[in-house]
């Protein structure tokens, strides 16, 4: 007969490649949340104050909260079309550990939705008058925090994938869970502004990231099985 069973690594790579390809072909799912992020950030100076002193104070919080809101929008596309066209069933029936396949989907999602946000953040930080010495910390905190958001959000998306309209319930479930990330992300930037070391907060976020990477895909996999049942 044809073909040997693939290694888990090959299945992981195939899933990662496929999701990146889909993202590349369905640019709207990626571009719109990104635009939303930039627009929300730009609204704050208009709504609060154009004075650079006040903007400096709120810059980290504004960027972080906008990241959380934008990630709610982008998360929705993570499993939706796969659920609707039946690809999710194929994923669940793979002989490979679901953990790695879900992880591949999460990584791909972060690469196209989280990473662009991280890359553009120094520009927005400049517009919000954040002193340049805090850029590094902001980018690092986002680099550690946005994957955690993708991983945790993935659980909530997986639980609600069978629902018709789920945009709001996703936010209701996920946003309260993002409080610790918000706290440590903004504290890291604040401490840099107060000329203290942000290393403590960043390493805490690193710990949270490693815990999320090792546990969240398990929960997402279980949630997908429940939703497809």
């Amino acid at each position: 007969m044809t073909g040997k069973q693939t290694t888990t690594w090959a299945a992981f790579l195939a899933t990662l490649k496929r999701d990146l390809l889909i993202a590349f072909k369905k640019k709207n799912d990626i571009v719109n949340p990104f635009m939303f992020f930039i627009i929300v950030v730009s609204l704050f100076p208009i709504g609060i104050s154009p004075e650079s002193d006040r903007l400096t104070e709120i810059a980290a919080g504004v960027i972080w909260i906008s990241v959380l809101l934008a990630s709610m929008l982008s998360m929705d596309s993570l499993y939706r079309s796969d659920f609707e066209d039946g690809s999710l069933e194929q994923l669940l029936l793979s002989p490979h550990p679901l953990f790695f396949l879900v992880l591949a989907k999460n990584i791909s999602h972060w690469l196209v939705s989280g990473l662009p946000v991280v890359l553009v953040s120094p520009l927005l930080a400049y517009m919000l008058a954040l002193p340049s010495e805090a850029y590094g910390t902001l980018v690092l905190s986002l680099l550690l925090g946005t994957p955690i958001m993708s991983l945790i959000g993935s659980i909530a998306v997986a639980l609600t994938v069978g629902l018709g309209s789920r945009g709001l319930i996703l936010a209701v479930i996920t946003l309260p869970m993002s409080v610790p990330i918000l706290i440590f992300g903004t504290l890291a930037v604040q401490s840099t502004l107060n000329s203290q070391s942000p290393v403590g907060y960043l390493s805490l976020m690193l710990v949270m990231l490693s815990v999320s990477v090792s546990l969240a895909p398990l929960a997402s996999g279980a949630a997908l099985k429940i939703s497809v049942n």
Partner: protein, 247 residues
Amino acid sequence: MWVWFSKLGSPKWFYELSGKWLPWLIAAMVIFMAIGLVWGLLFLPPDYQQGFTSRILIVHVAVAGTSLAFFPLMFVAGTITLVWRMKLADMVAKNAAILGAWFSFVTLATGSLWGSVMWGTWWEWTDSRLVSMLFQLFLLLGVISLRSALEDSDTAAKACALLSIVGCINVVIIKYSVEWWNTLHQVSSPVNMDASSPNGPEFWIATLIMIVAVYLFLSVSLILSTRNEILERERKAQWVQDLVLKS
């Protein structure tokens, strides 16, 4: 065979057993509640710092302490639902989420009532316990709204079980991170947090009685609502129909 047994056997067993316990639990609840409320709210000597305000605190501390039990309870119930597929655990979890949301709300309400007298403000972000309770309330509302959104009861049971487990872990992380966040913003706080612990052994005894009373209240309401749930979900079972015909 075990799965079969636990799925069909347990609700009936629970219904009969809880029926025997209920009168005793209710009696104990009434006694403790009466002592706690009458003594605590009417006769307890006023605290030297806080005056009569400390009396609200008795209720607040008792309800707040009980509120912390809900997520661990739902964690255990969720694990049982996912691992052993026991229907009873899901019925308990469903009502625990709703009761938990009420308890969290009452904690916030009594807390801000007390705060309005003590701190001169109804809401104070610098009190980490209030803030983490607020987010516990949000998480519980998330579980409730997930259940109401899912139509298939089996899917809803498992999905809520999983969310409760994730939520329980999360609520612990939120609690510690909010406390941390709080200590860093303490400097700017206009409120003297040290004033929040009144002295005197009577206060603690009254609080203890109140805590027992509220835990009993929690058990009684959980058992009552679970019994209702059992009757509704098992309405086609023979023993429920016999029960209805008898009464």
